[in-house]
């Protein structure tokens, strides 16, 4: 999909000789556009659920929450046997997580997320103190083994403290950075899909038009062409309106 997106973007930009975007710039805009769209899925999903609860949603092909959930599900990943760091009594999370879905202990027992400010009260409670049947965790900063985390909190502390292994996590990961790879032929970049670092967009094909508009917005700002940005914004707004 990435080549079609780039070709479309270049076609619109080259109309009236608006300007040119290098492959490196395109890759930066593509990453930004994909991240933006990826995050929008969660808000769209929330809005769709709100509509559903107001009985403004339907079933079958009109089941929008289901369709949105299917896209988000594409990014779910399971990481088994998280590494336990004895010094900080924490488990190190994978570096590409966006949001944690479920944490499991011993494959099937769900570990519940608890806010940091509640964990002490929970542990001290006679009736709800975490046990191996009802374990709990809270999210915390980097553990000793990973001094440069990619996420603000990249480890979890699990209660009861007797749990020191068999922690798995089901999470939603960030999409991989798209990369339009190329060979230079006669001074011009020519698309090369077989390059080792090639990476296509991970969003569904139905998002191709939105990706084009978003990249055009960035490109328009880059080449100082207000008309391009205005066109892209307007098209995106119309698109959003249709989808709601």
């Amino acid at each position: 999909m990435i080549n079609e997106v780039r070709n479309t973007v270049m076609a619109i930009l080259n109309k009236d000789n608006n300007g040119y975007v290098t492959p490196e710039e395109f890759n930066l805009f593509a990453k930004q556009a994909q991240l933006e769209l990826f995050e929008e899925y969660f808000y769209d999903y929330k809005n769709a659920l709100n509509l559903q609860n107001k009985r403004l949603s339907n079933s079958g092909y009109a089941d929008i929450p289901k369709q949105l959930a299917e896209v988000i599900d594409l990014f779910t990943k399971k990481s088994t046997g998280l590494t336990y760091v004895g010094g900080t009594t924490s488990f190190t999370l994978p570096t590409d997580w966006y949001t944690l879905n479920v944490v499991y202990y011993n494959t099937t027992t769900e570990v519940e997320r608890v806010n940091q400010n509640k964990i002490n009260q929970l542990v001290m409670s006679n009736i709800t103190a975490p046990t191996t049947t009802y374990p709990a965790y809270y999210l915390t900063g980097a553990s000793n083994s990973t001094p440069t985390p990619t996420s603000p909190g990249n480890s979890i502390i699990v209660y009861p403290s007797t749990i020191i292994n068999n922690i798995d996590v089901l999470y939603v990961r960030y999409p991989s950075d798209p990369k339009w790879t190329y060979n230079t032929v006669s001074g011009s970049p020519v698309f090369n899909q077989s390059a080792a670092d090639y990476q296509d967009f991970e969003l569904p094909l139905s998002d191709q038009d939105t990706l084009v508009f978003k990249i055009l917005e960035y490109a328009g700002v880059n080449i100082r062409e207000a008309a391009v940005t205005a066109f892209a914004s307007q098209e995106e707004a119309i698109n959003d309106q249709k989808e709601t």
Partner: protein, 306 residues
């Protein structure tokens, strides 16, 4: 919990204890209650959403405690001998007693609670009657109060029991002559709440012991008591009878809605009504009324009363 095969049920798959699964079908575990509630009653399209599992766990346990006091009456029985200290330490899961008896030759003789058997703390004093304190400024206490010492020594005797003050009977000494109520008529002024030939006890809730009158020394005591169903904090052992399962769901739902901000009052009231109705249902179901047993009891109507 998944259904188990007959082999697993009768023999626990050949592992010890083999009776581990006997009768378990009557019960649903706390784990299942919490899991089912989170699955069936919590969601974006349900009345309850965005609730933590520990919230559900807390209310489920509270509901189980409540129904244990109200309807389940799962009575536990503990037998122990009482020594010279005439004391019986309450079991760790004790909430309230149902009956306390002395067991003799397989027969239970119920004891009665006597508020006149008292307990007290006694402070130590020097010869001049001044209180004594330790190095931290705390007052020193006697190991046993005068009340305890009297009780251990067999005093006071119960009124109208088999051992009296004179000739084995309670009486009044007037001008050197003894008068006994039997000789002059009925037991006028008898306190029926304490008139029992068996011994008596008093529960010291603060100390967590049952104090007995001296007659039970070296006797075997049977304590029937109710617990709160929490199985000493072992969550995996906490279960509830299936006849009360629906009540627990209703209780948890009401408790959560009652505490949730912006829940319409009519929704809370509806949940409360449902909870109360389910509690009544559970009580009726658990009251264990059988027509055959009722018939046996009603046959007593034909008995001749002399």
């Amino acid at each position: 919990m998944a259904y188990i095969t007959n082999y697993q049920y009768y023999t626990n798959s050949g592992t010890v204890p083999q009776n581990a699964n006997w009768g378990e079908y009557q019960y649903v575990s706390l784990k299942d209650i919490v899991n089912n509630f989170m699955l069936m009653y919590v969601g974006d399209d349900k009345l309850v959403n965005n609730v933590t599992r520990y919230n559900v766990l807390f209310h489920a346990k509270r509901g189980i405690q409540e129904i244990n006091y109200d309807a389940l009456r799962n009575i536990k029985v503990l037998q122990q001998s009482v020594g010279d200290d005439l004391r019986f330490v309450l079991p760790p899961d004790y909430v309230n007693y149902v009956r306390i008896s002395v067991e003799k030759d397989g027969i239970l003789f119920p004891l009665h609670e006597n508020s006149q058997i008292n307990y007290a703390t006694e402070y130590l004093k020097d010869n001049n009657g001044n209180l004594l304190f330790d190095q931290n400024g705390e007052v020193l206490e006697e190991e046993l109060s005068q009340l305890d010492r009297d009780r251990l020594a067999g005093l006071p005797k119960q009124q109208f029991l088999d051992s009296g003050l004179r000739y084995g009977q309670w009486g009044w000494c007037v001008d050197g002559s003894w008068y006994f109520s039997y000789g002059i008529g009925g037991y006028y002024g008898l306190d029926t709440s304490k008139a029992n030939v068996n011994d008596s006890f008093r529960i010291n809730k603060q100390s967590g012991v049952i104090n007995f009158s001296s007659g039970v020394n070296a006797q075997s005591i049977v304590l029937e008591y109710v617990s709160d169903g929490m199985e000493n904090g072992d969550d995996d052992s906490v279960t509830i009878n299936k006849l009360a399962e629906d009540y627990i769901y209703s209780y948890v739902r009401w408790a959560i809605l009652d505490n949730k901000i912006d829940t319409q009052e009519y929704v809370v009231r509806r949940a409360k009504k449902e909870k109360m109705a389910k509690l009544r249902n559970a009580k009726i179901r658990l009251s264990n009324m059988h027509s055959g047993r009722l018939l046996m009891t009603l046959r007593g109507r034909d008995k001749w009363i002399k």
